[in-house]
Subunit: 469 residues, 2 copies
Amino acid sequence: MNYQSLTPELIEQFRGICGADALMNADDPKAARYGRDQVSEKAYHHPPDLVVFPTTKEQVSQILELADRARIPVTPRGAGSGLSGGAVPACGGIVLSLERMNKILEIDPESLCAVVQPGVVTAALDRELEPYGLFFAGYPISEDFCHIGGNIAENAGGGRAVKYGVTGNYVTGLEIVIPGGEVLRLGGKRYKDVTGYDLISLIVGSEGTLAVVTEITLRLSPRPRHRRSLLTGFGRESEAIDTVSAIFRDTGIVPTSIEFMDAFCFTETAKSLRFDLPSEGSAAYMLYEVDGADPNDTERGIEKINDAVRGSSPMFSELLSDSRSEEVWKLRKRIPWMLKRITPHQSAEDISVPIGAIPGFVRRLRSIESDLGIHIPVFGHAGDGNLHAHPMAVGDEAEDRWAEIRKPVLTTLYEEALRLGGTISGEHGIGNKRREFMPLVSSPTELGLLKGIKGVFDPNAILNPAKIF
Amino acid sequence: MNYQSLTPELIEQFRGICGADALMNADDPKAARYGRDQVSEKAYHHPPDLVVFPTTKEQVSQILELADRARIPVTPRGAGSGLSGGAVPACGGIVLSLERMNKILEIDPESLCAVVQPGVVTAALDRELEPYGLFFAGYPISEDFCHIGGNIAENAGGGRAVKYGVTGNYVTGLEIVIPGGEVLRLGGKRYKDVTGYDLISLIVGSEGTLAVVTEITLRLSPRPRHRRSLLTGFGRESEAIDTVSAIFRDTGIVPTSIEFMDAFCFTETAKSLRFDLPSEGSAAYMLYEVDGADPNDTERGIEKINDAVRGSSPMFSELLSDSRSEEVWKLRKRIPWMLKRITPHQSAEDISVPIGAIPGFVRRLRSIESDLGIHIPVFGHAGDGNLHAHPMAVGDEAEDRWAEIRKPVLTTLYEEALRLGGTISGEHGIGNKRREFMPLVSSPTELGLLKGIKGVFDPNAILNPAKIF
């Protein structure tokens, strides 16, 4: 596309819209952090020419109107906690940070809804909801820092998606601004709505390429009052993974979480946190959780799961106390950070496969690992087939080695996922990081439809360019 | 649009694609039924020029390729059980009936998925799933005759949507044919997928205006092994409706169903079925249901609901035996048919409002009823705010009276729904019946986006024209 550069005159106009306090120039030392997200690889970083911090939808509208007219790329951004380079201004231009639009506008216990601005931290909403006995069930595992707007952009899943599904299942209303500056309100507090095409689901997961979300209405659920979890270790990874279908087949229970952790991820993170957790030399660990309204239900539920798991001859199985469960979840949440500290020469993947294909996929991962002589720690949401594999290069020549193997390793992983009926991303999105691989997943006709839809919303392609396709 | 008429030469070509047995001409006595759905009003019927019954995606592809080239409208059709005129060939042309594509292609208990053709009757899939201990949770209340393809077209909800949500929540894969004849496969058996825009959710609920669905992959859930229900009668409608928020607030339980029936709907249907059911002169009846994996859970659940309901001083409250529950559900399912028999001069509405707005909406319905001197029986899915109001004209001059009041009554109902944060359809769709009212709901900009998307899929507008907009 034919983008224009930001001139001092244009910057002046953006200052006029937002105010001087809501502008950050490219030479500001803090600007660099708006040029990256949680992707380690430098190839997917790009500095912004200007960062703006609007506080109202009117400002967002004026920013998009001016940027569209002047052909300046605009990259919307939440917490910057993404894992696909989605919030990085890959073509330069403006980063539109929504971090100051961080108000919880309304909690409506009668209609079981919350209305929030995009910059609200997911866990902050949760704290506000607790006294009402309600919760937002679609939250991802990065709840402590991710923004709800970012969850919308990526259709984030998480550790409880087995039972509760993903972000999009709970979005009943959106206020959006499209390039050109028009503000639209889609849906609302109603749960069911079949008037016209489902534009809300189209915006959810569109990675900020179609519109900027300025307000979100979320469906709330009764907060589970009780929760029980079980930590189990297995002698083989396949035994751990096989418990997933055993649980669905034998118990009639839909657990809240079924998390897989390989021996490396579990023991290294436990070490780094100085947790004294059982391991007994297991090759894989599983964390199962059930929740519900009644302690008898959850107790019976976790016991049934424990029974189903026994068929896989676990090396140990521990029903966790509340405090112990908190410790194990802390460990689980810590894994990506432990891995990140090892080397920047790695890729945090989130391949999604059918549940029945998980055992085959894990086996293939291990054979790819040994064929290519590469380390691939694996953990993640086994219960819904969404596993986090982190292929990485370590040692003296890690950088060169990674440059050499990155593309073949990812291509092999992705092709394997596709062969098993899976796809290349279950919750992190495409961004600029997986963009080159989209033709593996989508036919030219499908890509044509995606681009056609993009053109309907954003004919001048100013919104988050060089993402997805 | 500039549509062409079907010539004998074109009919010959369609015969060549499908075979002579798979064609029905306009003069066939059975063709009339392909010119209407379950909408009573004749204004929304329109005869087809030709009905085709393809059995393979290749035939569907060739039909769409030829029709697109020749500019012949094509209206896809399932069971014809819709309530918005969606499957009616409003501009003439071809009805593409999917009733012969009625195979269950695969049940995959490992990946908890079923792969089906669009013409499968919803209850037929359920019978096949029973031995596996699985079920498709998104089914609507018309399961005994509706087709899964039709459920997809309308994003059908139903009597269990409070807990399980609607059809779209369970669609993980689609095979579609777009005008021009290209076949695309979207998604698959994986549960999580954020690669590119969510085309599946865009097709679901698009009323056959974007593509013809030729194969569907559905996510399955553990079949609830136990179920308990409660029938309660109240002296006032408001008392009945108030129990919805009491249950969500006080019990922490998400019931499977919360169905409302006004006195007229309940007692007249009970009479027509010769059921001996309690009534004690109640003004409104509620049917609550919980389900689960364990009989103790469901027992405790329904007792908690019974406790919560007591705050509204019910006139009676009966925990139903299994056979009794079946009877009450039969009654509930029968209500629309009982109403339909009264007069063709009525409209089956399915307004959706926020849960907190249900009491206000029912009150307004009653004041509209008395202001306009019109009868509006009401029943439906109170638990998710989706109520079926059937305004009707009866008596000697019903036809003229209906012609006169139809539009003002619907406009008043819709405006009231919108004022309360609701919308004009929660599960029946827009079709040709509510099309004139779309500008009430959608701004010109939003309608422009919808039409833009339509143009991306169907540039010659041959698919199901004169629907939605």
